[in-house]
Each structure stands twice: as structure tokens, then as C-alpha cells.
């Protein structure tokens, strides 16, 4: 299987050195390792919101240093660890995120489908502010998934979910990504989830931290 993302001789500031690695196209890759080994930072390097001190990252065979960063971030989409939703309804959130990107919003029917995939079948008129942390996280993921990137990076997407919901969500999202040729890169501390859903496991060790 060809690599969609690669990192070579990657170093960030003085304290993080990453092993050479590649993410296989169309796979569900899981990024594992103890806290502080740079998993979240690696995702931010992949979408060029951070710049490596040394080394090269390629996306689709192209060095990202020469790429338009806005196009890159839309192709290699990161659903970060901190969930942010506008003080609006679920529909309003889809509309506002799409408006910020300057894209036409998806239909109500599609919104419902992405919410179903992310295990949150609430009416679109539901206001987001009173939702629980886990519910907000699922709406947040549904919005990201609907943007149909080439690579979907998710930083601890099930952190606020119970085991049953985590499994259902990962299984549905993985199926959707497989069917639509989306590569998944997931950070998770839950070993059982990694064993169950990972096609590829990338481990970062503490030795990488100087």
C-alpha cells in the first residue's frame, strides 16, 4: 500500500525527535505512545499549523513545505483535542463552519447522516451549548467528517465517550472512511480500541523526547 503521508528526520524545537514514519493510503492508522511524546504535535506538523525545526513531511508524494497551507489543511483535516462549537443549533454549526471555509453547506439530510455516523441522532434544531462534553465531541466530529478530506486526523476522538459508544462510533466512521477512500489517523490511549480498529499502528516512544 502506498504512503499518503511520510515524515523523515523530523524534529520539532529542541525537545521532540520523531522516527521516520509513513501513513498508508486508505488505512486506519493509530498513533500511540505515552503522553509528551509529540502525538498531537505530529498532527499539527502534518497540517502545517506548526513548522518542523528539521526534516521533511510529504503529502501525496509532495513536500508540504512548498504547498498552499490552506489547501493542505482542507485535505489533511484535523479534528483537534479541544472541541469548539458555536453557540448555535447543530444546523447553525454546520452552516457557520462551512461559511467560514467559504463553501456551500451540505443538505439537512446529509447533516443527519453524518450525525448518525457519529452516534448523535439529535434534531438539527438542538442548541449545542447545553450538550454534554461527549455529545459536543460527536457533533464536532460529524462536522469534520462531512468535509470529506483525504486524510482525517482525530486527536482522541473518543476521550469523552463510554466504551460502547466509542466502539460504535469508530466502527461506523471507519466503514465510512473505507468506502470513501479517506485515510484515518487517530490518537488513542485505549489499547483495546487500537487492537480492534487499527490497520496500522505508529508508536512514538519516550526516547524521542530529548
Amino acid at each position: 500500500m502506498a504512503a499518503i503521508l511520510t515524515a523523515k528526520n523530523l524534529k520539532f524545537m529542541d525537545f521532540l525527535r520523531f522516527p521516520d514514519l509513513s501513513v498508508e493510503r486508505g488505512s486506519a492508522a493509530f498513533l500511540c505512545g505515552p503522553s509528551g511524546t509529540g502525538k498531537s504535535t505530529l498532527m499539527k506538523l502534518f497540517n502545517a499549523t506548526h513548522t518542523p525545526t528539521e526534516g521533511t513531511i510529504t503529502f501525496d508524494g509532495q513536500d508540504i513545505a512548498g504547498m498552499d497551507t490552506i489547501d493542505l489543511r482542507r485535505s489533511v483535516l484535523l479534528a483537534g483535542q479541544k472541541v469548539y462549537l458555536f453557540d448555535d443549533t447543530i444546523r447553525g454549526n454546520f452552516e457557520q463552519f462551512y461559511a467560514f471555509r467559504g463553501d456551500p453547506c451540505i443538505s439537512d439530510e446529509d447533516m443527519r447522516e453524518f450525525l448518525r455516523l457519529c452516534c448523535i441522532e439529535f434534531p438539527l434544531e438542538t442548541r449545542c451549548q447545553p450538550l454534554s462534553g461527549g455529545e459536543k465531541q460527536r457533533v464536532f466530529l460529524a462536522v469534520h467528517l462531512s468535509m470529506k478530506p483525504q486524510v482525517l486526523m482525530m486527536d482522541e476522538p473518543t476521550a469523552a465517550l463510554d466504551k460502547k459508544t466509542s466502539r460504535l462510533l469508530l466502527s461506523q466512521v471507519k466503514d465510512y472512511c473505507k468506502q470513501n477512500g479517506i485515510t484515518m489517523l487517530v490518537i488513542s490511549h485505549d489499547i483495546s480500541l487500537v487492537g480492534e480498529y487499527a490497520d496500522q499502528v505508529i508508536s512514538l516512544s519516550e526516547e524521542a523526547c530529548e
Partner: protein, 261 residues
């Protein structure tokens, strides 16, 4: 109009007795600001005495060099105050603020003195007080605007990160915050305009009336200066914020808020 009453030093000194009232209230309410009040009053007295002496000298010996130096000192102090209140500003943002305050202040002052009043721009009696009023208000407006922008950016860190990760262009991401900061900066000036004449008789007008000017003339000056202040605050804040926010991200669309404080 009645004769102007000249204040002699001893009578003038009686005004400081009012500070005792303030100190009593501060003590009673256990607000520990007596030292600041005394320091502030002493500083104000010294600064105004000095500027009174300097202005007297400049008015008696009009020279473009003295006037330019006075204006330069005024602008530098206004810029310094804005920058010292907002410590996180990067170098380019600071330069943009300095240029915005200086250019808008000088341009509006020149229009006011040369076009509206019809006086020569070399006349310090008009140029210096008008510039002082414009710069003072501009300093407050820009400071408020920049502070508000940084506060919003800090409060909205998660929103900024999410939108940045989604591939939203930085200008689209920051503009709502810039508009909000601009509103915060110019609202006090607009509110002053709304309340003026009813709630308060402004300083410039009061000063002119006390020194013997007809109220009808004083009013015309006051209206003119209020509009000039509003314009300067608006222009300086617009320049500072609309050009300044572009220094908060680089060519790779990476956000760099911290700056070299």
C-alpha cells in the same frame, strides 16, 4: 461678558483641599489607592506646570522647530502608552500603531486648523492644543481597541485553533474579532457625543467660556473638536487594527500571537 477672574496661587491652592474629601472616601471604603491618588495629583500638577511654561515660551517665540518637537513628544508619549499597556504586541504591530496614530492625528489636526479654523499651520496656539486633544483621545481609543482584540483572541483560542485546522483563511478568522475591537474603541467617543451638552459641558468649551469667549463661539469649537476626535479615533483604530492583525500570522498561515514583548 464679565471680566475674567485671574486665579492667584493661594486661592488656586484651595482646590487641593478637595483631595482630602477623596482620601476620606477612599479610607472609609477601604480602597487602598490613596498613594496613587497623591502620586497622580502630584504628577499632573508637575506635568501641567511644565507644559504651561513650555507653551508660554513657544507662544511667545513661535518657531516651527519647537512646535515640531512638542508634537513629536506628544505623539511619542501617546504611542508609548498604547504599547506599554499592550505588552504582547510584535514589532510590526507596534510600528503600524505608531504610524496610524501619527498620520491620522496630524492629518485631522491639519484639516481642523488650516481648513476649518483657517489658521496658519505654523501657529502653535491652535496646533498644539488641538493636537493634544486629538492625541489624548486617540491614545485611549487605540489602546482600548488593541486590548480588546488581544483579549478576544485569548478567550477564543479554541475557536481559532479549530477554524485554523479546518483550513479557514486567517483574515476570515480574525476579521470578526477586529470589527468587535473597533466597535469597543470608538463607542466611548460616540457615547460622549450623544451625552454632550446634556450630561456634561466639555472641558474645551468650559475653558473657553471661563476665559471670556462667547458660548456660541465656544460651542462651534466644541462641535468641531468632537467630530475631529471621533474621526481621529476611528482612523487611528482602523489603521492599527486592520493593518495590525495581519502581523498575527505568517505566510504559511500560521498564527503567531505571542510577539516579542
Amino acid at each position: 461678558m464679565s471680566q475674567i477672574v485671574q486665579l492667584d496661587v493661594w486661592h488656586f491652592a484651595l482646590i487641593y483641599l478637595l483631595l482630602l474629601v477623596v482620601i476620606t472616601v477612599l479610607r472609609f471604603t477601604k480602597i487602598n489607592q490613596t498613594k496613587s491618588l497623591l502620586w497622580g495629583s502630584a504628577r499632573m500638577t508637575l506635568q501641567l506646570t511644565l507644559s504651561g511654561l513650555i507653551l508660554t515660551y513657544i507662544f511667545q517665540n513661535p518657531s516651527p522647530i519647537f512646535m515640531a518637537l512638542y508634537l513629536l513628544a506628544m505623539i511619542s508619549f501617546a504611542v508609548y502608552r498604547v504599547i506599554s499597556i499592550n505588552k504582547r504586541l510584535n514589532r510590526r504591530f507596534r510600528l503600524i500603531i505608531a504610524a496610524s496614530i501619527a498620520l491620522s492625528g496630524l492629518a485631522v489636526m491639519a484639516y481642523f486648523v488650516a481648513v476649518v479654523v483657517g489658521e496658519h499651520l505654523g501657529n502653535p496656539q491652535y496646533v498644539i492644543p488641538i493636537s493634544g486633544m486629538l492625541m489624548g483621545n486617540t491614545m485611549t481609543g487605540v489602546s482600548l481597541g488593541v486590548k480588546s482584540l488581544y483579549k478576544t483572541i485569548e478567550d477564543q483560542a479554541d475557536r481559532i485553533e479549530t477554524l485554523q485546522n479546518m483550513g479557514v483563511r486567517p483574515e476570515k478568522l480574525f476579521l470578526p474579532f477586529v470589527r468587535q475591537a473597533m466597535e469597543t474603541a470608538i463607542l466611548p467617543t460616540i457615547n460622549t457625543m450623544v451625552g454632550i451638552g446634556i450630561v456634561s459641558l466639555p472641558g474645551m468649551m468650559t475653558g473657553q467660556i471661563l476665559s471670556g469667549t462667547l458660548p456660541t463661539t465656544a460651542i462651534l469649537y466644541q462641535i468641531a473638536i468632537m467630530i475631529a476626535i471621533c474621526t481621529t479615533v476611528c482612523l487611528a483604530t482602523f489603521g492599527s487594527l486592520y493593518f495590525g492583525y495581519r502581523t498575527l500570522y505568517n505566510k504559511r498561515n500560521q498564527i503567531e500571537i505571542g510577539g516579542a514583548a
